[in-house]
């Protein structure tokens, strides 16, 4: 479980996140909406523990442990993983090497097989992110997460820049990473209902378009606006609302609804 309590975060001396409360239960996936510059990436970076995002108040708990001041690599080994919106280029480091790093030095991982799953075999011997197109970056991030196999997965706009054909691949891969690819393949497999109940993986997905909702079952949607998480709603409803009346009005309306409840 991920629990965020009254979190305030500063970046470069500016308060970006003013008051964040959030709870993601095992098995849940949340969708995060919000206008450009509202602080969505900042929230993910803060959960991942990047030091330039300064927590000035509040706490973050993961699996019952206070991780507010925990270094990034320890969070990673506790099972938090992130797909980056704009990852840096690592010259001289091959994708293949990075996948091994992500697997924590496990020797038994099948790099080729994993790469195949995201149509990325041809990139294994290229420098990480060097000249990758927008869609290729996303697949590279997914491949890294496959090797890492975290329990809490943070996706920062995983579908932006992905073409229609690859969207299905990306969507299905994310569903699989989140343990949502339920199927009864052989006799003796647990029934789907039980698989759903036993799902433990947690997800937090940033999206502008909502395409990901065609592939991933989300428990909740939230809107980050003006440094505050404004509502908890069905993500499709939120999307509709934003499309119809825009963020500002949408947040006001839902806020109104929430207070009336």
């Amino acid at each position: 479980m991920l629990v965020i309590e009254d979190l305030q975060v500063e970046l470069a001396g500016k308060l970006i996140l003013k008051h964040i409360d959030m709870e993601i239960q095992p098995g849940e996936t949340h969708i995060l909406f919000g206008p450009n510059g509202s602080g969505k990436t900042s929230l993910l970076m803060t959960i991942m523990g990047f030091p330039q995002y300064k927590v000035v108040a509040g706490r973050i708990y993961f699996k019952g442990v206070d991780i507010t001041n925990m270094p990034t690599h320890e969070r990673a080994s506790m099972g938090i993983g992130m797909s980056f919106q704009r990852p840096p280029t690592l010259r001289g480091l091959k994708v293949r090497q990075l996948i091994k790093i992500c697997a924590g030095g496990r020797e038994d991982i099948d790099v080729e097989g994993m790469a195949k799953a995201v149509n990325f075999e041809d990139f294994l011997d290229r420098d990480v992110n060097d000249g990758f197109s927008g869609g290729e970056i996303k697949r590279s991030e997914l491949l890294q997460l496959m090797a890492q196999n975290p329990d809490l997965l943070l996706f920062d706009e995983p579908e932006s820049g992905v073409d229609l054909e690859n969207m299905e691949l990306v969507g299905k891969t994310i569903a699989r990473l989140l343990g949502q690819d339920f199927q009864v393949k052989v006799k003796g497999d647990k029934p789907i209902r039980q698989q759903k109940r036993e799902r433990r993986k947690m997800g937090l997905v940033i999206t502008h378009t909502g395409h990901i909702l065609d592939y991933v079952t989300a428990s909740k949607g939230q809107v980050l606006y003006d440094g505050v998480l404004s509502c908890v709603e069905n993500p499709r409803e939120i999307l509709k609302c934003i499309a119809n009346i825009g963020y500002e009005e949408c947040v006001r309306c839902i806020l109104g609804n929430n207070t009336r409840n």
């Binding site: 991942m48 270094p71 690599h73 840096p88 690592l90 001289g92 480091l93 790093i101 992500c102």
Partner: protein, 408 residues
């Protein structure tokens, strides 16, 4: 008058002539003589003390001679071991070549002028030895030839002269290591090298230096590449020296001749490295590339490169990247000179530090900060070198790996 006498005369005139670049070394302080080393058989080579074998291994020299087509090993003033295993490849001590073969005079001092400076002069006036490595027309070295210059006597000035010839259509790969014994701290190494790459020949020359804190190194080299030939030169120096200065000059003298230079430098405190080179592209289809990676780590590194395009349809690129870790200076001096229409020349130089962003990215994948830093540094030093045989790539990787501990 024999030509050697003329060289001696020229050298005498230049014996006090300072080099145009690099710290001046007072050669009078150093000894020119040392007891001649005892020649060693293959078996005796393998039986060298472990500590010495390790030193040689770090410079890419394998005493077992497995996976090598030949070996040349010089210690201080003389040859210890000289052996060749492959038909069509010759490895000859220079002194013997000068005594026995007339053809050597077509190469000796033909690319480097004997009166360039006091270092070239010293190499003529007080020549110790050196090697001649030649691939006969069409011969292809299956394995690399290894050559080693070892310095054991303290305060010695070692003067060597090497000549490498890749005859028409041949392919020759050389790995050469320079190292000092553990007890040796102080000294000068002067190494003249002249490379001749004939029509459609391919020569790769990989040099790994492991010197000591009080050593001055003055290589003087030049190369000539004929039509369709390829000269690939790799240089790795990740250990301390007092000062090292070299500026090889390469002439591409036929159409489609190619020269590529790669260097990897790690500068430790108290060390000054002035490394770079010049390539003249004289004919259509000529290509040249100078790529360097430098990590200062407290040392002073000057990375030079000068490409001169004198014909249309040439391509030349210079890439110089520096990383300042733990202080030090990196000074990149890239120069491009186009003389005619139709040249295509570019350079890319960057000096900086490791981006925090990159460290955090790797930490998010589970690495500690130190592990992430060393992964990035290793990546930085990992240059793709097209055309280098895998064994030599492995030797370079080993040297980089080895230095990792020192860098961090």
């Amino acid at each position: 008058m024999h030509i050697r006498e003329q060289y001696k005369k020229l050298a005498l005139k230049a014996k006090d002539k300072n080099a145009t670049i690099g710290e001046d070394v007072d050669l009078d302080q150093y000894e020119k003589e040392a007891p001649p080393p005892k020649p060693l058989s293959h078996e005796e080579l393998c039986a060298l003390p472990a500590i010495e074998r390790e030193l040689l291994a770090m410079a890419g020299i394998d005493v077992t001679e497995d996976g090598r087509s030949g070996t040349f090993f010089q210690k201080d003033v003389g040859v210890v071991h000289c052996n060749v295993k492959q038909e069509g490849i010759e490895v000859i001590p220079l002194r013997i070549a000068l005594e026995k073969y007339d053809w050597i005079w077509d190469y000796y001092w033909k690319l480097v002028s004997v009166d360039t400076d006091k270092y070239t002069a010293a190499a003529e006036l007080e020549l110790h030895d050196g090697y001649v490595i030649r691939a006969l027309p069409g011969a292809k070295s299956i394995y690399p030839i290894q050559a080693c210059m070892f310095m054991e006597k303290d305060n010695l000035q070692q003067n060597v002269h090497n000549i490498v010839i890749a005859e028409e259509g041949s392919e020759l790969h050389i790995i050469t290591g320079c190292a000092t014994a553990h007890t040796t701290k102080r000294g000068v190494h002067i190494g003249i090298s002249e490379f001749f790459v004939k029509k459609n020949a391919k020569l790769s020359f990989t040099m790994i230096h492991n010197w000591a804190e009080e050593m001055h190194i003055r290589p003087r080299s030049a190369a000539l590449v004929e039509e369709g030939g390829l000269f690939l030169s790799n240089y790795i120096c990740m250990k301390p020296v007092k000062s090292l200065q070299m500026y090889p000059v390469t002439h591409l003298i036929g159409p489609d001749a190619v020269a590529r230079f790669y260097s990897i430098l790690v500068g430790t405190p108290g060390s000054t490295y002035d490394v770079g080179g010049q390539v003249f592209l004289n004919h259509p289809g000529n290509r040249a590339e100078i790529v360097s990676r430098a990590i200062s780590n407290g040392g002073h590194i000057i990375a030079r490169g000068h490409l001169i395009g004198k014909s249309p349809d040439i391509k030349a690129h210079l890439e110089c990247r520096g990383l300042i870790l733990n202080g030090g200076i990196i000074h990149a001096i890239p120069e491009l000179e186009g003389h005619v229409d139709g040249v295509e020349m570019s350079h890319e130089a960057a000096v900086g530090k490791i981006a925090q962003e990159e460290i955090f990215y790797l930490m998010a994948r589970g690495l500690t900060e130190d592990e992430a830093t060393s992964t990035i540094v290793r990546g930085f030093l990992n240059v793709d070198i097209p055309g280098l045989p895998p064994q030599l790539k492995a030797e370079i990787d080993k040297a980089v790996e080895e230095s990792d501990k020192d860098v961090m």
